[in-house]
């Protein structure tokens, strides 16, 4: 059970039950849909860009506890950041969940380090990164992306 508790940390469970910024954003100027074709998970990420700065970000959709909590915490982490900072954060987050760790030069993950347990569950990496891939697609002006 210790391994499982590494994956399903209380913070993650709490966010999956009560996701933050779980709403449509009519004012958003970017929007992308992300699919995991293997499991049918799908999220829509709404983004309000103000020049180079992420003024607001929200999401909706369905998925497992890991993907939902990751989406929820992502919205909290990138809000107010610049596009470059958000992309840097995704890079660090990706290293974290794939077990490559993160080094001094990487962006500060803060609370997102609760997802470090995902690296022990390779089948769940795509769950943890689905919302991030979708955010990246929205930042690049694409309308949809998949984890494949």
């Amino acid at each position: 059970m210790s391994d499982l508790r590494d994956l399903y940390q209380d913070v993650i469970l709490e966010h999956s039950k009560a996701p933050r910024n779980y709403r449509e954003s009519p004012a958003s100027n970017r929007k992308a849909e992300g699919f995991n074709p293997l499991c049918g998970d799908r999220f829509t990420v709404y983004l309000t860009l103000d020049g180079d700065s992420i003024r607001d970000v929200s999401f909706q959709g369905s998925g497992c506890a890991i993907s939902k909590a990751s989406a929820s915490m992502m919205t909290q982490s990138v809000k107010g950041k610049s596009v470059a900072e958000a992309e840097k954060l995704f890079e660090s987050f990706h290293k974290l969940v794939t077990g490559l760790g993160h080094s001094n030069g990487d962006a500060e993950l803060g609370k997102l380090t609760v997802f470090s347990g995902v690296s022990e569950f390779p089948a769940r990496v795509k769950c943890a990164t689905l919302a991030w891939h979708t955010l990246q697609a929205a930042l690049e002006g694409k309308q949809e992306t998949t984890t494949e």
Binding site: M1, D3, L4, L7, Y8, L13, K17, L38, C39, G40, D41, R42, S62, G63, C64, A65, I66, K68, F121, A123, R124, C127
Partner: protein, 416 residues
């Protein structure tokens, strides 16, 4: 569980001995004895299948239908003997009606290409059901798009049973083919194929049956069913992956153009013209999966030696036990409650995503499938994105069901 104790299954075969035939069942996963409940995805392989394939490569390996030398003749006779075994297994009228394919998916694509394409014109219809696997939807969508034809799907009810009345009313003079599953992979529903064939034949419409989920659990007699095509995969029937069977009535197969061109499927070739080989070789272009076929033969003999009726009775008892056991779990909803059901227990847990169920059960050494099971229209019918699915095989035990139930309780604790 202790394998030392003699565990006689409800059907009478010696369960402990049967389990000992499957080497993988001795292994542990995450430090716990493996409970393998993902049999609808693929079944495990008995030692006889593994050894038959090894022996083929160690002692016989050679190409078929070509050489005059000893090994080639031996490979050819072993390969063709399996055609006979498969004929008997399905009770086909003639062994030339047995075509080796890569699996059910290729069997369906072969029929779509060689029967569907020449028979389909703009405005025609193909009739399937709402409970089909994607492999019995997508080839027909591709074909219908190409031909300007319409793909129609007969609905299912909330138990996951085909609405036969609606099905019969969807048949009409424009219907060119019915393609339907024998047993639903996502729900376990057993369809009344004989009745469906009677209805379709009333309109002179041939019927293709997707038997992938049926042959491991039910006695299949293609002549009694009356279907025109029947296809299944070896790997869900304790055989190797990459090999399967398409049965077709010779009257239809004879008139169909080849699926692929190449070696082995020809009688004579000049640069101007090719005369195709006779059945079944017309449909087996190129060097086939010889080891796969020979391994499949071992699997068919293995299942037949136990008796498919015994297997079905045992699995039915395990499924019944599991269905009662999970009924007491709060928030658990069984998806697929057909009266006639085989081997599949699909379920959801309130507020817990199937992937999380799958990961937590995996930590307990329990392998199940989670997701949409390549049957998204079924998921849409029941208003879910995904389910958790336990599917049983001849080697599963009630003790394993008890471990599944304890595992589900653990899932609920984690998410409490």
């Amino acid at each position: 569980m202790s394998m030392g104790a003699k565990t006689v299954s409800s059907s009478g075969f010696d369960l402990a001995r049967v389990r000992a035939d499957f080497p993988i069942l001795e292994r542990k996963v995450h430090g716990k004895p493996l409970v393998y409940l993902d049999n609808a995805a693929t079944s495990q392989k008995p030692r006889t299948v593994i050894e038959t394939i090894s022996r083929y490569y160690e002692e016989i390996n050679s190409n078929v239908h070509r050489g005059v030398h000893y090994l080639s003749e031996r490979a050819t006779s072993d390969y063709e003997a399996v055609r006979k075994t498969a004929q008997q297994f399905l009770n086909a009228a003639d062994s030339k009606e047995i075509i080796f394919v890569r699996g059910t998916t290729e069997g369906i694509n072969l029929v779509a290409h060689s029967y569907g394409r020449p028979h389909l014109e703009a405005g025609d219809e193909i009739l399937i059901s709402e409970m089909e696997h994607h492999s019995n939807i997508v080839p027909w969508q591709i074909l219908c798009d190409e031909r300007g034809a319409t793909l129609r799907a007969a609905p299912i009810n909330d138990a996951g049973e085909l609405d036969l009345d609606r099905f019969s009313r969807m048949l009409n003079s424009k219907t060119r083919l019915v393609a339907i599953t024998h047993v639903s992979n996502a729900l376990g529903t057993i369809n009344p194929i004989r009745r469906i064939v009677e209805m379709a034949h009333g309109w002179n419409v041939p019927v293709l049956v997707d038997g992938a989920q049926a042959v491991p659990h039910l006695q299949v007699d293609v002549q009694a069913l009356g279907c025109d095509f029947y296809t299944f995969s070896g790997h869900k029937l304790y055989g190797p992956t990459g090999i399967g069977v398409l049965y077709g009535k010779s009257a239809l197969l004879d008139k169909m153009p080849p699926y692929q061109g190449g070696g082995d499927m020809i009688m004579s070739v000049t640069l101007g013209k090719t005369v195709y080989n006779r059945l079944p070789y017309k449909f087996e272009a190129g060097t086939p999966d010889i080891a796969g076929v020979i391994g499949l033969g071992a699997a068919l003999r293995y299942v037949s030696s136990l008796g498919i009726d015994n297997v079905g009775a045992h699995e039915g008892a395990v499924l019944g036990y599991a269905t009662s056991a999970v009924a007491a779990i709060p928030g658990l909803r069984v998806i697929g409650t057909a009266k006639e059901k085989a081997s599949v227990l699909s379920f959801t847990l309130e507020n817990i995503h199937p992937h999380d169920i799958g990961t937590i059960l995996d930590q307990e050494g329990i392998a199940i499938r989670t997701g949409h099971h390549c049957s998204q229209p079924v998921m849409q019918h029941f208003g879910v994105e995904a389910t958790a699915r336990a599917s049983f095989a001849l080697y599963n035990t009630k003790e394993e069901v008890d471990r599944l139930v304890r595992g589900i309780e653990k899932v609920r604790e984690v998410f409490a």
